[in-house]
Symmetry: C2
Subunit: 211 residues, 2 copies
C-alpha cells in the first residue's frame, strides 16, 4: 500500500503513447475545470472535447461515458489528495481522531471547489455496473487513505467493515451537504460519530505500545 503505481491509471491494457497520455491528461483537466464551475451539468461532453482539443469520438474512446470520465476525474483528484495528506499526517492521539481529522481535512479541500466535488460524487454514486471497476479503484484509494490515517497495516475484518462504514458515511454525508440538506457542523459531528467505530473494532490490540 506504500508506493504502488500499478492501479493508478489504466491497468496497462495498451501502454499509451506519449501523445495519448497527453490527450488523456488534457481531457481530465478540461473535465475538472468545467466541473469546478457549473458542477455536473456543466461537464458537457462536447465542451470537454473542445476544451481538450480533441474530437468527440476520441473523448468517447478514452472515456466511454460521462460517468466514466467523472469517476476517472475523481481518481485523479484523490491521488493528489492522498499524496498531499501524506506530507502532513494527522496528529491525533488515537486512530479515531486521526481518521476524523483526515476526513475533515479532505472535506475542507472539497469545500474549496464545491462544484467539482458535486460533479465527482454525483457521478460516483450514480455509476452503474458498467463502471464498477473504476468505482472500485476509487473505493480502494479511499480505503488506503483511511487506513493510512489509522496507522493500521493489517486490518482485521471488523476494522475493514468499520472502514467501509466510514466510507459510506463520508460519501453520503458529502452528498447531503452538497445538496444543501446538512450543515458543515452536522457533517463534522457525523464524521466524528462514525469514527468512534474504530475504537470499537480494535480495542484490545493497538494502544500504541511505543515499540
Amino acid at each position: 500500500m506504500t508506493a504502488d503505481n500499478r492501479a493508478d491509471h489504466r491497468p496497462a491494457s495498451p501502454p499509451l503513447t506519449e501523445r495519448q497520455e497527453a490527450r488523456r491528461r488534457r481531457i481530465l483537466n478540461a473535465s475538472a475545470q468545467l466541473a469546478a464551475r457549473g458542477g455536473f451539468d456543466a461537464v458537457q461532453m462536447r465542451e470537454v472535447a473542445e476544451a481538450a482539443g480533441v474530437a468527440l469520438g476520441t473523448l468517447y474512446r478514452y472515456f466511454p461515458s460521462k460517468i466514466h470520465l467523472l469517476v476517472a476525474t475523481m481518481q485523479d483528484q484523490l491521488q493528489h489528495m492522498h499524496t498531499t495528506l501524506r506530507k502532513r499526517p494527522p496528529a491525533g492521539a488515537d486512530p479515531a481522531e486521526r481518521v476524523a481529522e483526515t476526513l475533515m481535512r479532505a472535506f475542507r479541500a472539497l469545500q474549496r471547489e464545491p462544484q467539482l466535488a458535486d460533479a465527482m460524487v454525483r457521478a460516483l454514486t450514480f455509476a452503474d455496473r458498467s463502471v464498477s471497476p473504476e468505482v472500485d479503484t476509487v473505493s480502494r484509494l479511499t480505503t488506503a487513505i483511511i487506513l493510512d490515517a489509522m496507522g493500521t497495516e493489517h486490518p482485521t475484518p471488523g476494522q475493514l467493515s468499520a472502514v467501509r462504514v466510514i466510507e459510506h458515511t463520508w460519501h453520503s454525508a458529502l452528498i447531503t451537504w452538497l445538496s444543501g440538506r446538512a450543515s458543515i457542523a452536522q457533517v463534522k459531528i457525523d464524521i466524528e460519530t462514525v469514527c468512534r467505530l474504530i475504537d470499537l473494532t480494535a480495542p484490545a490490540r493497538t494502544p500504541e505500545p511505543t515499540v
Copy 2:
C-alpha cells in the same frame, strides 16, 4: 410520529380533485412497474406517461422531473414498508439489534425487486438541490422507521447523529450491493457494525430498567 398523514403526499398546495388523485396514483404505479423491470433507465418519461394514460405535459405537471418522479415513488414505497414493518415489530433485546433486524428486513424486501430499488436509490442520491424537499421527506420517513425500531421517543442529539450515520450507511451500502460491488453478507456485516453506534450513543440512559 404516529398517524400523521400531513406530509405524506403533496404539502396540500392545491387540494387535488379525485380524478387528479387517481392520475397521480396511476403515474406512480406506472413508474414503479417500469422501474421494477429495467431499473432507472427503463423509467422513460414517455413510457410512464403512456402507461399511466396521461399526456407527457401532464406527467411533467405532476412531477417536474424524472428524479422527482422516482423520489416520489420511493416515498410511496417507504410508506408501505413503514406500515408493514409496524405490524411485526423487531424482536431483538437491545435497540441496536432491533434496528439491524429492521434494516435487514427492509433490505430483503428490496432484494425482491432489485431493479426498482436501483431506480429509486439512484434517483435519491443523484437528486440535486431542486429536489431537496422531497429527498428530505424520504429522509424523515427513514429516520422515523429507525427510531421506531430503536423504541426511542425523544432522541438525544448524539442519537440523531447515529441515526443519520446509519441512514448514510444504509443508502450507500445498498448502492454498492445494487451495483454488484458488495455481497449481501458484507452489507449485513456493515449494517450490524454501524448499528453498534446505537449502544455507544446512549449507554448511560436506557438499559431497559423494566419500568
